[in-house]
Amino acid sequence: MESKKEMVVSAIENGTVIDHIPTESVYQVIRILGLERYKDEVLIGNHLTSGKLGRKGIVKIKNKHFSVEEVSKIALVAPFASIIDIEDYKVVKKFKAEIPDHVENFVRCANPKCITNAEAVPTKFDIVDKENLKLRCHYCEKFTTKETMKFAE
């Protein structure tokens, strides 16, 4: 976490901090977690100096706690992110985002001929290679990779 002395993004009393997000993935993280529609305070910092990443992004979400399953989706775009639960300005839990075995709904299939791109069918993928990020579509059986991955709006 940022040092308290020079905190660029204000501390929150209660909620979740997502730290160590690659700078290019900050807005994807926000979209994946549906924070565009969140009605409480969301603080976003990007291109902050980081010992680990050089530059990083951070998102602080007031009064919101995520389940591990809920937040693990962000590992697809932010594999080194830390998720920190805050209560009364204190860290009560800290864990790493981990790439899940399956993802549903939010990744789009890269195959233009897939039924999920033709009709309102929620997508489903098995993640067959976590290291190189290779997803196999449950419907058309084709692969979507890091390079071809797009997210549902």
């Binding site: 299939c109 897939c114 579509c137 058309c140 059986e141 084709k142």
Partner: protein, 305 residues
């Protein structure tokens, strides 16, 4: 009664090795006695969202010979699909009119989706370039019938191994039976690495060739496919390789006596017609076997076998 009752057949990996064998055994019974009216109280819907000759006719012939009634369409023109009805709504509706849905649709993954919204079993009759499992079942039937076994065979696949879904499914299925694969194709149309990986993962071997003559003495089965001109961005390239995957009767001297030539059809020029008159040609019987295999699948899935 079969364990396949109520099941869907969408992808070749949906069935186990034992289940393939079960279907082939049931199909053998239908070959001996094809007219068994065991589905006379059933309605089979055949929904063909794109044209097909062999697949649709053989499904409808199979259903007819079992006494089932058939509803459906062979072209979505003139149906509510043309008015913009979704696949979801079409399938929900047809489920309530039938006991089994057989579907071909150009969208990949459409059959899997249909099986999730249908209240009756779905058989995939081809979903774009993805899967065509009943073709694979009839290929297995033809191989077993001509070789007496599916185990330990030398399988040569020839032609467009990159885009040919029948080859991909056949290779995946034959990985269950300790096959050795001989892959003949132009450089541009080699088997995709994901399918080669299935061979490796099964602990089996494959060999790659560019000249069909090299595999004639070894093969138990030569599975021919069409090399399509439109797959080549450069027409010169097509002209250069087009003859490397054409089989003619004179090339068959020196083949094993049990060797048979298979082809999913339609053929264009990749098997010259003089091969038809040799004892090695099996592609027309192969197409006929499609009826028995589809009878077996429908009977098993509908609980009549």
């Amino acid at each position: 009664m079969s364990t396949l009752k109520g099941r869907n057949l969408i992808s070749i990996t949906d069935f186990s090795k034992e289940e393939y064998i079960e279907v082939l055994d049931i199909a053998e019974g239908f070959e001996k006695n094809p007219k068994q009216k065991i589905l006379s109280d059933k309605v089979v819907a055949t929904l063909f969202f794109e044209p097909s000759t062999r697949t649709r006719l053989s499904f409808e012939s199979a259903a007819n010979q079992l006494g089932a009634r058939i509803i459906g369409f062979s072209d979505p023109g003139g149906t509510s699909v043309q008015k913009g009805e979704s696949l979801h709504d079409t399938i929900v509706m047809v489920s309530s009119y039938s006991d089994l849905i057989v579907m071909r649709n150009p969208k990949e993954g459409s059959s899997r989706y249909a099986s999730e919204v249908a209240s009756v079993p779905v058989i995939n009759a081809g979903d774009g370039a993805n899967q065509h499992p009943t073709q694979c079942m009839l290929d297995l039937y033809s191989i077993r019938k001509t070789q007496g076994t599916l185990e330990n065979l030398q399988i040569a696949c020839v032609g467009d191994l990159k885009y040919g879904r029948t080859v991909h499914s056949l290779v995946q299925a034959m990985c269950n039976f300790n096959a050795t694969f001989h892959l003949v194709s132009p450089q541009e149309l080699k088997l995709p690495s994901s399918v080669k990986m299935s061979i490796k993962n099964a602990g089996l071997k494959y060999y790659q060739y560019t000249d069909l003559r090299d595999i004639i003495p070894t093969a138990d089965i030569i599975y021919m496919t069409r090399v399509q001109r439109e797959r080549f961005p450069d027409p010169m390239e097509y002209e250069r390789v087009k003859d490397s995957c054409i089989l003619s009767a004179d090339m068959l001297a020196g083949c094993k006596p049990n060797m048979r030539v298979l082809h999913p059809l339609p053929r264009v020029n990749e098997i010259t017609t003089d091969v038809d008159r040799t004892p090695y040609a099996y592609y027309f019987q192969q197409a006929q076997n499609g009826v028995y295999v589809r009878q077996a699948l429908m009977a098993a899935i509908l609980g009549a076998k």
